[in-house]
Symmetry: C2
Subunit: 479 residues, 2 copies
């Protein structure tokens, strides 16, 4: 069993504890704060609800979590010791001295420091080569980045071992090859923070306007590609040098209050263009554009389902759903285009997305008969009990589809629907579904509100004349 | 019919053209570049594959696109005129003079400028109040942000009208209340760019390392919440003031090369804390943490499906899938936890995700019999023809589920599978599926490679002794 020691709880230490634990390590915590146990248990409950489902494979069994009043007990057997105490150098030095007097010489002592260089941390240490920086990002249990910053005092094998452990717990160890104050990522955070303080102070923008300026625009770009790959695309076919020629002069302009700029020489342009080629040159600009667009669509649709950020903007801008029209015919419940993220390795819409479209059609039909968000909030809903899909034809991203819905039976607790999905006149699939009305309190079958049952019965009777659609009542493999 | 005029094609002008067109506007382009038509058609083809599916409702019919050699023809009937010519003030002034001599007085003339203030653009204009800044972000057809920057010369009704049109085409108009060089977002981009140039120049990091430092960490945070809401969470229960007290001193430290910092006064702290309360105070820190985690999980899983960025890290870190073991029993094909993004407004796993899990089980079984990525790349695969699901019980985020797979029939082109999903011993659902082997070239049924058919027959024969599972062969609503 692998063991990690967490020195200093709080949000960051707790995040490390959660990640190690959920990855199957035993975790031993040392923190004199009487609140430490409560704080870590709160981080842990956040981690338990979010981390395990990230993977498509089961994670190992959780390790054991224990709290220790003595450092010597907390470090017992620990292969990794993570220090996340407040950012005061003399405090950190004291902690390392205590740790090195009791811990295994082969253990990694990693600091969560945002700012100190490893050589500063190592000053005066018994074994400087045992200490380095592993700087994580909150929430530590979800975000993969850990900046791993060694100094010349750390042996290559020690660094490689630390990288291996970080990878083992699902992180991406970014080896910072040359130590510097605040490492890499926090230098950007600090630059943006400084500019943001100016904007608020000068009354240009509020905190909310600044957040919106980030999350509805470049934030989405940076979440997938970062700065340089994004700009490589902006340079277009003319390339990275063209991009830099265009924006180089801006360095002299007051586009930020932060004017301590490097000299924009040909050498610097060549250096960047060459690094960008090494990074992204295996893709054409056209390919990079499509990768970026696939990522943006997938992320924006993910946020749409959460109704947050750019996804909330999409929901607000969305055209109204079809209205319940003539009920003597099957009812138009879905009219939409196939999004990029609904297709799979076969290049066509994935089988599960057929059910997603049919589920959306069912949701829309429920709204039409009065089983809307307000009704659901009052404690009633329909749950799907049974589904039969005939996948009749393929369909690709961008295609416009419709779903029309026929009520086969609607009475009492039961709602039996038959959906037909088409692209133009081409039939793509049928979906037959038995739904049961439930009480969301008891989670058991219950009768719907009278106005819902009345509407359902009305449509059901109007649809009775349509007859049973072709394919209804079928079982898999039987014609 | 609404009409937009695009002055200056290229990536930005083309992006505006695509957004207007796909939102149902007619678009008239003026650009003397002989390549303009080709460039815009390339942007348009990217937009057509990605934008329509973002929404869950069909978009209007595309407008008509036309190219014009004379400005007077291009502006005919245009309610919106978007200028995206190169960033040279005297050129922009010339363009506005030409435009205002021929365009409708009520039309909006909006500039895509990244840097110029509207008052600079308006200098010397015939009707200064007709001109403002609408600064978009690439790709313009996907990202919702447009910084709308007026000057005192613009009437409130004109600004409101411009906001209305931007909303109508699915954008988020961020009203920049006080004009400033580079508006808001590009000031951050410029600050980060300046810091990035230092890091590359000083040999601290390569362009790729910088991109990784962004996209595996804070980029994901900023894509959904931006800077201040993220830091509000970091401050924890102690609040925004606590956060600032902690990081205020860093303004004096060399955490970036950009040292032109504002004075960190109590007034500034109060201003920021108050604005943050107004922005996010309706949520507790605990709620904000969960919103953030929901968003991060949804976006990271979206990137996982694209195998890019943080999603590629997840795929690399993932534990191996179950191996084909004892074939005399149903085969373990899925063992995983339910992710946060698989649940819906009922608080349980959405019906479509049952099919996603069964689809994953089928994919895994296909790999086990040799129908893996390499085989699929060679031109053969199985397509699902028919599906029957019994949703027997609810399951919630975080629960560990398994799927076991029984082969009911496997011979020739046919593969008839029966999946059982459980949480521990509790049966959640069954999925019965008929799959047909196809040639990916002809998209028609074909026989599988001999090694695949042989493996399938072997398992099918081993499973024959298990008998037909309960629930197999059923039709919806029939017991």
């Amino acid at each position: 069993m692998k063991t990690a020691c967490i020195v200093g709880g709080g949000v960051i230490g707790g995040g490390w504890a959660a990640r190690f634990l959920l990855m199957g390590w035993d975790v031993r915590v040392f923190d004199p704060d009487p609140e430490a146990e409560r704080k870590i248990s709160e981080v842990l409950s956040n981690a338990r609800r979010s981390l395990p489902g990230l993977s498509d494979q089961a994670m190992p069994e959780e390790g054991a979590l224990s709290f220790h009043a003595e450092l010597v007990d907390a470090v017992a057997g620990a292969a990794w010791i993570q220090e996340s105490v407040p950012e005061r150098l003399e405090l950190k030095h004291k902690v390392y001295a205590s740790l090195q007097s009791v811990c295994d010489e082969g253990a990694v002592i990693a600091s969560s420091t945002s700012g100190f260089k490893p050589s500063e941390l190592q000053e005066g240490a018994l074994r400087p080569g045992q200490i380095l920086v592993a700087h994580p990002f909150n929430p530590v249990y979800l975000l993969p980045l850990a900046e791993l910053v060694p100094s010349d005092a750390n042996a290559p094998e020690m660094i490689a071992g630390a990288q291996g452990i970080l990878r083992e717990i699902g992180m991406y160890p970014l080896h910072v090859r040359k130590e510097i104050d605040a490492h890499i990522a926090d230098r950007f955070l600090e630059a943006v923070w400084r500019e943001a303080l100016w904007l608020v102070k000068d009354g240009i923008a509020t905190t909310e306007e600044i957040d919106d300026a980030i999350r509805y625009g470049f934030g989405l770009r940076w979440a997938q590609m970062g700065l340089f790959e994004t700009y490589r695309i902006a340079g277009g076919e003319a390339g990275m040098k063209h991009f830099m020629a265009q924006f180089g002069p801006a360095l002299k302009w007051p586009w930020t209050k932060l004017m301590d700029v490097p000299e924009f020489t040909d050498e610097l342009v060549d250096l960047i263009a060459g690094q960008s080629d090494a990074q992204s040159g295996h893709h054409s600009i056209r390919e990079l554009e499509r990768i970026r667009d696939n990522n943006l669509v997938a992320m924006m649709r993910a946020l749409k389902a959460q109704d947050f950020g750019a996804g909330a903007i999409l929901n607000k801008a969305q055209a109204p759903a079809p209205e319940l029209g003539d009920i003597s015919k099957p009812i138009l419940t879905i009219s939409r285009a196939i999004p990029l993220d609904w297709t799979d390795y076969n290049g066509h819409m994935n089988e599960a997305r057929y059910l997603q479209a049919f589920g959306d059609a069912t949701d829309r039909f429920m709204e039409m008969i009065g089983c809307d968000a307000e009704y659901i909030a009052s404690g009633g809903s329909y749950f799907t009990a049974e589904t039969h899909i005939r996948h009749l034809d393929e369909v690709h991203a961008g295609a416009r589809i419709t779903v029309e819905t026929q009520v086969i039976l609607g009475e009492g607790k039961k709602m039996h629907l038959f959906h037909v999905m088409r692209e133009g006149d081409r039939m793509l699939a049928t979906g037959e579904h038995m739904l049961i009305h439930v009480s969301l309190e008891t989670r058991k079958a219950s009768v719907p509100a009278p106005h819902i049952e009345a509407k359902l019965v009305e449509i059901s009777q109007a649809h009775a004349g349509l007859g049973l659609p072709e394919g209804a009542g079928a079982a898999v493999g039987k014609r």
